[in-house]
């Protein structure tokens, strides 16, 4: 892959956003609103005139006074960053309920402006859709009030259109990924959760032809599906490449799963958002669970010709740790080799390298 690709303007802009990414950029023109979890409805923020900034743990994890050791690093590191004042420039923080840890984080987070979104854990249950729409309506009203704007449907429609555009572009990038270095694709997708969305769409649109030109076959590289929760940096992706493999499908929360499925623009915006919530790729925090997820991963592996699956979990992440058993078993029974890789930080070390390498050597 030639270096000139990385220097080309649209690509450079996207990569710069990822490097800068953790703190809200010092930008007097925009108000950034932080959020956890990819179930958080970014459209509502955009419609309220705010820029959504996914809160990802910083490289150097601090130790917050308030959380015990048996808590995942992303939660601890983000809380430490908040306590250290690194997120003070945010207009507020949004919490979408995913797991017990985030549930607790909502109660101890220091920001004054905290908004909550509790989607159903069982999106197919009776009453779930009505409930979800009720949640979205409530959140929309609260958000508009907090942002000091009138809640207008037109603003929502525009936001949905913008985000759909982003999702389609991300989809095109994802299709190309078997021909691109894994860390590059991962970084470009992460940029879409950190940059002002309109800027991201423009830069990615300009970058896609350059990426298409630079893309080549994965060659003799082992093709793998990577699934898991969040990966806030590219270290693991780099390790794949270094060991002669490539992530041909990325079902991580900070990877393609964040962008999958567009919103139906033919219906009322909040109804469209609710429908997307229920249609997203299976997440361990929602039920029906492991069976659907295993089906999804098998299908993904089939479509991209993958030779194995790596389930990357963060230490103390309960939902993913539970799923790893059932999903791993189903995949193995279907003939797909699986490696469950537990990581404390997002940056893999020698221990992860040994496991990943041994797994690749056994394929």
């Amino acid at each position: 892959m030639n270096g000139s690709l990385y220097g080309a303007e649209p690509v450079a802009v996207l990569l710069a956003a990822v490097r800068g990414g953790r703190r809200p950029p010092a930008d007097p023109q925009r108000r950034y609103f932080g959020y956890f979890c990819s179930y958080w409805p970014e459209e509502l923020l955009l419609a309220a005139g705010l820029e959504p900034l996914r809160l990802l743990p910083p490289e150097t994890a601090g130790t917050p006074a308030c959380l015990p050791a048996f808590c995942c690093l992303p939660a601890r590191a983000c809380l430490a960053a908040a306590e250290a004042g690194e997120l003070d420039a945010l207009a507020g923080v949004g919490f979408a309920h995913s797991c017990d840890t985030v549930q607790c984080l909502t109660g101890i987070w220091p920001h004054r402006t905290r908004l909550f979104f509790v989607p159903p854990a069982t999106p197919l249950a009776p009453g779930a859709e009505v409930y979800l729409r009720g949640e979205l309506h409530r959140l929309w009203r609260q958000l508009a009030a907090a942002a000091g704007v009138q809640p207008e449907e037109e603003a929502l429609r525009r936001a949905v259109a913008l985000m759909n555009g982003v999702r389609l572009l991300a989809g095109r990038l994802d299709e190309m990924r078997p021909g691109l270095p894994s860390p590059l694709t991962a970084a470009l997708l992460r940029a879409g959760q950190l940059m002002p969305r309109a800027d991201y769409a423009a830069a990615l649109e300009a970058a896609l032809p350059l990426l298409a030109d630079a893309a080549d076959e994965p060659g003799g590289r082992r093709r793998l599906v990577l699934s898991g929760s969040l990966l806030e940096s590219d270290g693991l992706y780099m390790m794949f490449e270094e060991l002669g493999a490539r992530v041909v499908a990325d079902d991580t929360c900070t990877g393609y799963r964040h962008f999958a499925v567009t919103v139906d623009e033919g219906v009322e915006p909040l109804a469209g958002l609710a429908a997307r919530c229920a249609a997203r790729p299976p997440c361990p925090c929602r039920h029906p669970g492991p069976d659907r997820r295993a089906d999804y991963l098998l299908d993904l592996a089939g479509r991209r010709g993958a030779q194995g699956v790596v389930l990357a979990l963060r230490k103390y992440c309960d939902p993913h740790a539970w799923d790893a058993v059932a999903v791993g078993e189903r995949l193995r029974r279907s003939g797909l080799p699986v490696l469950v890789l537990e990581m404390e930080a997002a940056a893999p070390g020698g221990q992860e390298r040994t496991r990943l390498q041994a797994f690749l050597e056994s394929l």
Binding site: T101, A121, Y131, H287, W322, V325
Partner: protein, 411 residues
């Protein structure tokens, strides 16, 4: 329920009755498939916060794997069971009730009290935590039986009416599904009767807990932990009412006679979180031998909420959604502060329970706020409710000793 150690303070006569009650319960459950089948009574495994009144009203017998987890912890059987689950790939960082429970399914030879009776169905309500959803998904896979879910959305700030409506809708569907499953119709009068029975037992349990406001307290925390079993596993039955009436009478007698659970009660303490089951009496003895009595706690009170009168589904939906573990930090701080005031508490001890994230991750914050608001000292002790492998005797003893010395200095 047999416990490994004996209490070193005033034992309750009712404790023997408790032993017999729980033994009978486990025996009945163990052979439920024999007597239940001809009566067309299916067996459901349910979570501790499930709206069990509906199941009782439909003639479904209920078994509580969480209570079984506590039993395994108390009998020191949980470690081997957890190992069995870990051997099957379950992370050792997961809830020890769940690991022990799954271990007992995979290795019934290691399971105490005759093991767990095979379920015909599973009923899960996630009001207590998100782990039960995953645990029960795993069970559904292991047993290949239907899983019924009641999703009670977390109350991040205020109780949202659309959330209660959602729960109500799910309860309505649960009834329909269970009617189909059992082949029986739910008679509204029967549901009301079960709700009334739950309320009666809850009322008696509240009376019993309230008695501990008396100085000296007639009960210590281990009593509450041990005697709470029927309010969970026999909820909605006449048996629970009879049981708590008897206990209430004994406790009332103690109060009248001025009998103290801890003779020479010097310090009145509050306990937060689930008990350390494999060290129940030994641990609390560290306190009782210095005149410190745990007069109240946040856990056993979780089953002290009455179901409101009126439409039973509305009432069930609201009560089960608004349990304390489904509430924000502000609510839990309030609850603790009120208990401290009502029970004239001098200090509190919080068990940082590795297995229970919703309970434990917010403890440091709650401790700080409660200490600020009440001026009462709080201690955090790290352990696990059932997995004895994480128990560290020396560090815990040190902390407890320092805390008690502090209390004694305050006078």
């Amino acid at each position: 329920m047999k416990v490994a150690d004996e209490p070193r303070y005033l034992p309750l006569r009712s404790s023997r009755h408790l032993g017999r009650t729980m033994q009978k319960y486990y025996l009945l459950m163990r052979y439920q498939h024999l007597w239940g089948r001809p009566l067309k009574r299916p067996l459901a495994w349910v979570t501790s916060g499930a709206p069990v009144e509906i199941l009782r009203a439909l003639g479904i017998d209920v078994f509580y794997p969480e209570n079984y987890g506590a039993l395994c912890g108390a009998r020191r059987a949980a470690v081997e069971l957890c190992r069995a689950a870990e051997a099957a790939g379950y992370s050792q960082d997961l809830c020890s009730y769940a690991r022990a429970g799954i271990g007992a399914v995979l290795r019934p030879d290691l399971a105490p009290a005759g093991g767990m009776p095979r379920p015909d169905l599973l009923v899960m309500c996630n009001n207590i935590c998100g782990t039960v959803l995953k645990w029960y998904e795993a069970l559904a896979g292991l047993f290949n039986v239907p899983l019924f879910t009641i999703d009670t959305p977390f109350i991040a700030a205020d109780v949202e009416e659309h959330a209660v409506d959602y729960v109500r809708t799910q309860l309505r569907r649960l009834i329909d599904d269970l009617e189909r499953f059992t082949g029986r119709r739910l008679r509204p009068a029967e549901l009301e009767r079960r709700v009334a029975l739950s309320n009666q037992a809850v009322g008696l349990w509240c009376e019993i807990r309230d008695f501990c406001r008396h100085r000296p307290s007639p009960l210590n925390a281990p009593d509450l932990f041990v005697h709470m079993a029927p309010i969970v596993v026999l909820r909605g039955t006449a048996g629970a009412v009879g049981y708590y009436r008897r206990l209430r009478d004994e406790v009332a007698t103690r109060v009248r006679a001025g009998l103290a659970a801890v003779p020479g009660e010097k310090h009145r303490l509050l306990w937060d979180n689930i008990a350390i089951w494999y060290r129940l009496y030994r641990f609390f003895r560290l306190f009782s031998e210095r005149g410190a009595c745990f007069v109240t706690d946040t856990y056993t009170g979780g089953w002290a909420a009455a179901l409101a009168p009126g439409d039973p589904l509305e009432s069930l939906a609201r009560t089960y959604t608004t349990i304390f573990l489904n509430r924000p930090v502000e609510f839990r701080v309030r609850q603790m502060v009120e208990l401290i005031r009502a029970y004239a508490v001098d200090g509190f001890v919080m068990h940082a329970n590795r297995s229970c994230k919703p309970y434990s991750l917010v403890q440091e914050e709650i401790r700080r706020r409660v200490m600020n608001e009440t001026g009462v000292p709080g201690l955090l002790v790290e352990a696990d409710m059932a997995d004895a492998r994480v128990w560290a005797e020396e560090p815990v003893h040190n902390r407890v000793q320092a805390f008690l010395e502090n209390l004694e200095l305050r006078g």
